[in-house]
């Protein structure tokens, strides 16, 4: 396999395409709304109309407007249909001749689509995730070829450093710097790990990328392997994402068959193998040291850093860990050049960010915007605001590690630093819109309950602290708390934040602190009619029980 062979596969694929093409969304959202039946019905309708020679039906990845599924788009016109049912299939086939169609017509030029800018999702919804030929026709693996034959590993690292790409998993560590660190380690073997343990409730970006364009992530990992000198990669995927696991498995097998993964890739001396590891439902495994333990077949318990995984990771060897979206950015950076990427976004946050927009918002789904886009544009222009004429009250980013940003601060641009200043974090990209019917104390309690359940139990501040915070929030919610409890809540938040071992505990108080900061009146309103200060609260005994 060399570049000519690769290009030929792509050209063959494009030549074999028929005049009209139905692209049926086959990502988890649309499938759960009945997308598989719709696809079957359209295939039958095409056959029944006798036009199988000029019309084809393909299953593609996410078409983004997940709340309006199942979605169908028709090439070459680009017409989009929403909430399609199997019964509407014959009229959809008629629609390619311009006949009126029973299905609801979507508008691909509405702000939800037109305000987005795609890098990570550029082929999402266009390529067929289970056919590598389709991905190759869209340019997959060409960046890998370029790296192997035109660039030295050090040049690849330099390119990623120059692009200004930062980790998309949440913390925003400069990706190129991390690659450089692993590349410099003298120890071998080295490993590349893709963190696809997308545990934040309300986040589904990584799942959509894996389900829609798995080869993009595989290519990014192979480039990383070349750059740092690793020959083995692991993708750690949540067990809750069976479809993503299957598509990755199919993708890896197809890439191996074509010599794009495995030994002597593109007839170079570079070998790279990728294996899938399936998570078993522990949120803490999104933390890199816990994830490493889990890949090793142990309890997913984090350890102190340093040493960082770049130095001592999987089986104590140098290990590069990046998020799905980070790897998915890499092929585009190598193809278009670092300057192109660095021109997008803000001074310190480059490129685009994919968000999963959900909650009380009209248009739910997958959104990719340049860094620095104001939150208001995402939730009001792209998201269409809250439904039923209600007003947006807050936007929650970063899942249980993030915070709630009040509507008054919606003009903040989305980048790593701005969100931290507001007491939230970028996180992996879940964005939940809350309207005026949402009770903020309840939201804080919900997230604290989540962290309490997911605490691995290794360090006391997190294990016992989250339990006590949850109890305090329950008391406040039940109007049994007084002002002293509220200050105790704040004190305890600070303690858990500063004393916990890993990111889970350190960020667990964020939802409470941010709601206290912006919606304190909701907490205070519940302090009325409480027990007078000074009365024993019973919390001390409870604290002892909880820590035993």
């Amino acid at each position: 396999m060399d570049l000519d062979d690769l290009i030929e596969i792509g050209e063959q694929e494009i030549l074999s395409r028929k005049a009209y093409r139905f692209r049926v969304c086959a990502a988890a959202g649309c499938l759960s709304a009945g997308g598989a039946d719709v696809r079957r019905a359209i295939e039958e309708a095409v056959k029944a109309s006798g036009r199988a020679g000029e019309v084809e039906v393909s299953s593609v990845g996410c078409l983004r407007a997940c709340g309006e599924g199942p979605l169908v788009q028709i090439d070459p016109s680009g017409d989009l249909y929403e909430r399609v049912t199997a019964a509407q299939a014959p009229s959809l086939v008629g629609a390619i001749d311009g006949r009126p169609c029973e299905a609801r017509v979507g508008d691909p030029s509405r702000p939800f689509f037109s305000r987005q800018q795609s890098i990570v999702l550029e082929n999402c919804g266009l390529v067929e995730p289970e056919r590598i030929e389709s991905a190759i026709a869209a340019g997959a693996y060409q960046s890998l070829f370029k790296c192997l034959h035109e660039l030295t590993p050090a040049r690849v690292v330099d390119e990623v450093v120059a692009s200004g790409l930062r980790g998309r998993g949440g913390a925003g560590y400069p990706t190129g710097v991390k690659w450089g660190m692993v590349a410099k380690m003298p120890k071998a073997p080295k490993y590349v790990v893709c963190n696809a343990d997308e545990g934040d409730p309300g986040a589904f970006m990584d799942r959509s990328v894996l389900e829609s364009d798995p080869h993009r992530v595989l290519e990014g990992m192979a480039i990383a392997g070349y750059a740092v000198g690793a020959q083995q990669g692991y993708i750690f995927v949540r067990g809750e994402y069976p479809l993503a696991i299957r598509r990755l498995d199919v993708g890896i097998r197809q890439a191996k068959r074509l010599g794009l993964l495995g030994s002597q890739i593109f007839e170079s001396s570079f070998d790279f193998k990728i294996d899938i590891r399936i998570g078993a439902g522990a949120f803490v495994c999104g933390e890199e040291t816990a994830l490493i333990r889990s890949i090793e077949g142990r309890r997913g318990v984090p350890r102190t850093r340093p040493p960082y995984p770049a130095e001592m990771g999987l089986w104590d060897q140098p290990t590069l860990i990046n998020n799905v979206e980070t790897f998915a950015n890499v092929p585009a950076i190598l193809r278009e050049g670092a300057d192109w990427f660095a021109a997008i976004g803000t001074e310190h946050s480059k490129g685009t960010k994919v968000f999963a927009l959900a909650g009380n918002v009209r248009n739910t789904g997958l959104v990719e915007v340049p860094m620095g886009t104001p939150l208001r544009e995402i939730v009001e222009t792209i998201g269409g605001g809250a439904p039923d004429g209600r007003r947006i009250k807050a936007v929650q980013t970063g899942g249980p590690s993030g915070g709630c940003i009040p509507a008054s601060l919606l003009d903040t641009p989305v980048d790593y630093e701005s969100l931290v200043r507001l007491g939230s974090i970028m996180g992996s990209g879940g964005m939940i819109v809350m309207d005026e019917t949402t009770d903020m104390v309840n939201v804080a309690k919900f997230f604290m309950g989540f962290c309490m359940d997911e605490s691995c139990g290794k360090c006391v501040p997190c294990r016992a602290g989250t339990v006590q915070l949850h109890r305090l929030l329950e008391r406040i919610n039940a109007r049994q708390a007084d002002a002293a409890d509220l200050s105790k809540l704040e004190e305890l938040c600070e303690m858990v934040k500063h004393a916990s071992l890993c990111g889970l505990g350190q960020s667990a108080p964020n939802p409470v602190l941010s709601t206290l900061r912006y919606f304190r009146q909701e907490y205070e309103a519940r302090l009325e009619g409480t027990t007078p200060p000074g009365e024993p609260t019973g919390l001390d005994e409870a604290a002892q029980e909880a820590t035993v």
């Binding site: 988890a28 997940c66 545990g199 986040a203 994402y241 078993a280 959900a358 899942g399 879940g430 939201v443």
Partner: protein, 169 residues
């Protein structure tokens, strides 16, 4: 990387109980060359074929991977995905992710709980909750016998359950 453990039993020998399902577990262990780091993969397979994990099963896996039983038990109890309770004939997993929570997932859970109260013990319906199944666009959602059902209301979910528990309240 850890050394591969030595196989202790001929791969073709049937399990003494005569239960063919053990062959599937053996196959997974063989595929991973009986390496201890494949423990989680093997537990996944075991739960897939047996529905839940039993102490016997854990002993069997510990033996196959040459690991202390305590380690196997420790891992199996750490991860939420593994269960030691046999499942009911039907399952209803209510999602309590943030999007579902904001859109009333808690009410769905309460309705389901109220409806099937006591049924779990009879082994007919297992009710579970999930921390986000990633179908946030359709919130609130539940996995009803493995099928994602979105845009739920308490009425819809109770109607779904009525099919399983016709004599319910």
């Amino acid at each position: 990387m850890p050394e591969p453990a030595v196989k202790t039993r001929s791969a073709d020998a049937p399990h003494p109980s005569g239960d063919d399902r053990f062959k599937l577990i053996d196959a997974t262990m063989r595929r991973h060359r009986h390496q201890p780091d494949s423990l989680i993969e093997v537990l996944h397979t075991a739960q897939d074929v047996f529905g839940s994990l039993s102490p016997d099963l854990l002993h069997y896996i510990a033996h196959g991977l040459k690991l202390p039983t305590s380690r196997v038990y420790g891992v199996a109890t750490f991860y939420h995905f593994f269960t030691f309770e046999p499942k009911g004939d039907h399952s209803c997993v209510v999602c309590l992710g943030t999007a579902c929570y904001v859109k009333g997932g808690e009410a769905i859970r309460e309705a389901v709980d109220k409806f099937v109260k006591g049924e779990t013990r009879c082994g007919r319906v297992s009710v579970e909750t999930a921390r986000c199944i990633g179908a946030c666009g359709l919130a609130p959602v539940a996995l009803v016998d493995g099928q994602v059902r979105g845009n739920l209301t308490t009425e819809i979910v109770v109607d779904l359950l009525k099919a399983w528990v016709p004599d319910g309240p």
